[in-house]
Amino acid sequence: MHLLLNNLSDKELLYRIRKLEDREAAGVLLDRYSHLLVAACLPRLNQEQRAEVVFPAITQQLYARFQFLYGKVNQAVHTLVLNYFATGSALHTTPYEPRHAQAVQHLEARVEHAGTNPIERETLARQLEAALEKLDATERKLITQFYIEHHSLRELARIHNSTAEKIRNQLSKAKKKLAAQIDGPGL
């Protein structure tokens, strides 16, 4: 059963947790993100926030969060870690995603659903190109270099005389702008 659950996607596992109250599926999902949770928590661990206390508490809160989670699990884990170390052990939930995050998710779903349908893909590609043209020159150049020319973050950092983290943040912002333009009410 455990092996079968490992092959399921996050969405399917969340569905099982929500509908079937499958505790084993929750265990699989938590285990899938446990190493990232540990890595993200490590810089914040200290004498007060010990690993023996923090990890069971965060996993317990995550299990509770999974009961009504529809979005991305990684975002939920990150938000919960930030909230845990910012405000203590209280359970924090974000019922509504920010609009740009929702736009990114919608666009990802459209690309996924387009599949191999040439008409849908052509339409979507034309929209993306149009939205890309509306971006700033720097953002457009970054996106083109990263996604189309396949430069790595470190290469881009070297080209733009910046750090990889800053390049990553710029790319993230440009992507959200792009999604917001396509998913906006005008289009």
Binding site: L36, A39, Q75, V77, R110, V111, S152, R168, K175
Partner: protein
């Protein structure tokens, strides 16, 4: 190559193609730089979107965190495996099924015990009812001599009443029942004998000829056994029984020989019924049996009698109505009404019905 339109289209879709988070193996490899260019680019595409992976990569870039990361991630994984392990459902299920099977067996066994008791009790009850109500012929072989001896006088009685319609003076007259089946029951009950002369005729009155039905069987059972026979009768009995066994179901009146034989056999329980009453009963019997003409004759004879005239006329009217002679029936009923006796209301009701 990068400027190829199809290639560009494919790559522009990658902006919004979701990539999975780094797994337990990829994270340290990416930090250490042990990845191919393609895999590395895929991971970086994901890093642009995923804050958690980005935080993890940043944390692991500090070498001090490598050892605790390995330790804590293993411990946390083991903890999660134990904490969220599936409960031993199979054993519980088996236990439940065993309990369920036991309960089911218990219920079934108790059900069948109850059913056995109910069916057994019911069959015993039905058997008793059957034994009570079994037909007269089934009893005959056991008490053949009694049954024969008792059934014969009935035959005589009917034939006798044609000859002797009027009652003899000095004989006590018991009240006559109007309802037919009541009569039969009464006929079965033994009555006191007032005089030795009336004994034989009373026997004839009380025991009537009937086809062998259940009621007949009951009457036979209820009548007391005949008194010990005299040596004379004992001698005569075997041929009589033989004669009776030849015609056990014959409803017609028997010849006079049997009448004589019957007179010879003494009956200790002879009922006291007057001649007119017995005549009336015989007429009722005929009416019941459907022998309307005979009944009409008997009722006509009785209609001259003061005591029975009203009832006899009423029954006569009913007989005429059955025969379809409504005019006669009406006339008789009107007479009864004019007489203003006990039967006035009934006669009036019958008249109303006929009208």
């Amino acid at each position: 190559m990068n400027n190829h339109p199809n290639n560009r289209q494919e790559r522009i879709f990658k902006i919004f193609t979701p990539v999975r988070c780094m797994n337990r193996d990829q994270l340290p490899r990416y930090v250490q730089g042990n990845m191919t260019e393609v895999e590395k680019h895929l991971v970086e595409q994901h890093l642009v979107d995923c804050d958690l992976c980005c935080a993890a990569v940043l944390a692991l870039q500090d070498l001090r965190h490598h050892e605790p990361f390995e330790r804590y991630s293993t411990e946390l994984s083991n903890f999660l495996h134990r904490e969220y392990a599936p409960p031993p459902k199979v054993q519980k299920k088996q236990h439940r099924t065993q309990q369920y099977a036991r309960a089911k067996d218990g219920l079934l066994s108790s059900f069948w015990v109850v059913m056995f008791i109910v069916i057994g009790g019911g069959s015993v009850f039905l058997l008793r009812q059957h034994l009570k109500n079994r037909p007269a012929l089934m009893i005959l072989p056991a008490k053949a001599s009694d049954a024969v001896a008792l059934q014969t006088p009935a035959v005589h009685m009917d034939s006798n009443y044609h000859e002797e319609p009027t009652g003899k003076p000095g004989i006590s007259r018991a009240p006559v029942a109007a309802v037919a089946h009541r009569d039969t029951i009464r006929k079965a009950t033994p009555l006191r004998n007032d005089s030795a002369a009336a004994v034989k005729k009373i026997i004839k009155d009380t025991i009537k000829h009937k086809p062998p039905t259940d009621t007949a069987a009951r009457t036979v059972a209820k009548t007391p056994p005949p008194a010990p026979k005299t040596p004379d009768t004992a001698q005569k009995e075997p041929p009589k029984v033989a004669a009776k066994e030849e015609k056990p179901k014959e409803p017609a009146p028997e010849p006079a020989e049997e009448k004589e034989k019957e007179k010879e056999t003494p009956k200790p329980s002879t009922p006291t019924v007057s001649g007119d009453e017995s005549l009336f009963r015989a007429a009722m019997q005929y009416q019941q049996q459907g022998n309307i003409n005979e009944a009409i004759d008997q009722f006509r004879k009785l209609s001259s009698n003061y005591k029975y005239s009203e009832r006899a006329k009423y029954q006569l009217a009913l007989c005429y109505r059955v025969k379809g002679q409504n005019g006669k029936a009406r006339r008789l009923l009107k007479e009864i009404v004019k007489m203003e006796g006990n039967m006035k209301d009934k006669a009036q009701a019958q008249l109303d019905n006929m009208n």
